[in-house]
């Protein structure tokens, strides 16, 4: 009838956190290098961000403010449940405001607003090995990293161009970090790749199933791989955000009905809300009722 055994702060025991912190420190010391770590079972399935959660749990303190996004949004299942998890096991403050957060755990996006020094961006990574799809042998890919043999990465891009006439890889687009290691930036859209370059915030990557942690320290060179005659390009959108009229941000397509009605809205919900709060209005909100997508300008 005694009280139930309580969880340690932030779920993981202190030994585990020390082990993971050591891996993180090593990862920061060798930008882009995948550090193996003893990934723990977490109370959620693989693929739900167990790597990112372990990294966050190891660095979070009682004073931190946590934001969790999934595909840029704060309100999707994955983001909501991870945020609730840390509220429960660490009792930390949470926020949806990018600027207010000290730690942002993300799945598949980098916030539109530039982070500042002192903030930490934690990525959830499904497959950390960029060479995996062309060279399945882990012993061989590790050797290739060690010896800086990255010709194979360009074979992948070559295949893209040969098949589609351009580099068609749109997410998990490989980058070279600090002129040394080729790294998979996790399945973020390549739209976000340029943001990683000389980023003010610390970027940490956790892959739970694959048991790897890697990092890009602040102000580190991050270059997307390409060919001289097929240079790296990001996606562009002809529309503005239908809600906040933002341009030059990453947009999601939202299907409105079964008659072909659709709209494009900010993938970063916080950024979108912030803009609307500041009076920006997109075409969908300006019109009432919000139908007829090809209305007059």
């Amino acid at each position: 009838m005694t009280e139930l055994a309580s969880y340690n702060f932030a779920y993981l025991d202190e030994q585990t956190k020390r082990m993971i912190r050591r891996a993180i420190l090593k990862a920061i010391a060798i930008p882009g290098y995948q550090v193996p770590f003893a990934s723990r079972e977490m109370p959620m399935p693989y693929g739900w961000g167990t790597g990112g959660v372990q990294v966050t749990a190891s660095i979070i303190g009682p004073d931190d403010v946590l934001k969790v996004i999934d595909q840029g949004a704060d309100d999707t299942t994955n983001a909501v449940s991870i945020r609730a998890f840390f509220q429960k096991v660490a009792d930390v403050a949470v926020t949806t405001h990018t600027q207010d957060a000290t730690i942002i755990q993300t799945r598949h996006r980098i916030p539109e607003q530039t982070l500042r020094e002192g903030q930490v961006l934690v990525y959830q990574v499904p497959i950390p090995e960029p060479l995996r799809f062309l060279e399945p042998r882990e012993t061989e890919t590790r050797k290739m990293h060690a010896l800086e043999e990255y010709g194979l990465m360009h074979v992948k891009l070559y295949e893209d161009i040969a098949r589609h006439g351009r580099i068609s890889t749109t997410y998990a687009y490989p980058v070279k970090v600090a002129s040394r290691y080729v790294m998979d930036p996790s399945p973020t859209p390549k739209f976000d790749n340029p943001k990683m370059h000389m980023y003010e915030a610390l970027q940490l990557f956790g892959a739970g199933r694959e048991k790897r942690i890697y990092a890009v320290p602040p102000y580190t060179e991050v270059v997307s791989l390409d060919f001289e005659d097929h240079p790296f390009e990001i996606q562009t959108f002809s529309q503005n955000c239908a809600l906040c009229n933002a341009h030059g941000v990453y947009l999601d397509e939202v299907v409105l009905d079964d008659k072909g009605g659709r709209m494009f809205v900010c993938s970063d919900t916080d950024n979108c809300e912030d803009r609307r709060a500041h009076g920006h209005v997109g075409e969908m909100l300006a019109q009432d009722p919000p139908l007829g997508k090809e209305a007059a300008e």
Partner: protein, 258 residues
């Protein structure tokens, strides 16, 4: 003809525990020279080839290679990074089974271009142009450039493997039974192609084969191996037309006449 060998092997041995892989092998190879290593299965010829190409480490002996700067380097005292660099630039290795030497799930063009990209070529158009040129040289129709080798016949795969190896202009190529497993007519075409390329490019090559016809057509010199030892060594036509050792005589007399 230069007066310096390209490759020097001395006192070379490889043991597997107490078992002899090959023992006391010494020879030199000059630029443009093709050496055939013949013998039956288990004679040590593949062990020798794998050691010479640094895919295996020997028990004793040294193998020196003349680098492009003219300096001889002992292969087994090089760093792994240097050896691997050598293997994908100045050397080639043609496997018996093309699937071992090709990436079966990337296109023919990328298979040929990979070595170029590995040494830093970053111009797609030029890489593709070079790949196209090499496909033509190995008699693969250029409209197959974007097809994967999975869809190629055995002979085409082997020719693709050869192109993939030769694209960086290597000076030395190792071949392990390059015509093994191919139909006779396909073999003839491949041999003729190899012979032409070796002549045109002035390649040095070490070819392991159990097929004496391959040795006759491709090689200048021949080493006959038995139980891990080199038992006879000489000019290819001399060894085949006037074999001296009992085992070599047995080998030569076992050829079926058509």
């Amino acid at each position: 003809m230069t007066d310096t060998p390209l490759f020097k092997v001395s006192g070379f041995s490889k043991f597997y525990g107490n078992r002899i892989g090959c023992k006391d092998v010494s020879f030199e190879l000059w630029p443009g020279e093709v050496l055939a290593i013949v013998g039956e299965s288990g004679s040590g010829k593949t062990t020798l080839l794998n050691c010479l190409s640094t895919r295996l480490m020997p028990t004793a002996g040294s193998v020196e290679y003349r680098m492009r700067d003219g300096q001889f380097r002992d292969l087994y005292h090089m760093s792994e990074a240097e050896r691997r660099f050598l293997m994908r630039t100045d050397w080639g290795f043609v496997h018996q089974n093309p699937a071992d030497g090709l990436r079966m799930t990337v296109s023919a063009g990328a298979n040929v271009g990979e070595r170029l990209m590995a040494i830093g070529d970053r111009h797609y158009g030029k890489i593709r142009e070079t790949a196209t040129d090499w496909l033509t040289r190995v008699e693969i129709s250029t409209d197959r450039i974007d097809d994967q080798p999975r869809s190629f016949s055995g002979g085409m795969r082997q020719r693709l493997q050869i192109a993939r190896n030769l694209v960086t202009g290597p000076r030395l190529v190792f071949m392990d039974e390059p015509t093994g497993g191919l139909d006779v007519s396909v073999q003839a075409r491949l041999l003729d192609l190899l012979r032409g390329l070796v002549n045109d490019l002035g390649l040095a090559a070490i070819v392991v084969t159990h097929d004496l016809a391959v040795a006759r057509l491709l090689s200048h010199r021949m080493m006959v191996m038995k139980d891990g030892y080199v038992i006879e060594h000489g000019l290819t036509d001399r060894v085949l037309d006037d074999p001296r050792e009992p085992y070599t005589q047995l080998l030569v007399s076992s050829i079926l006449q058509v």
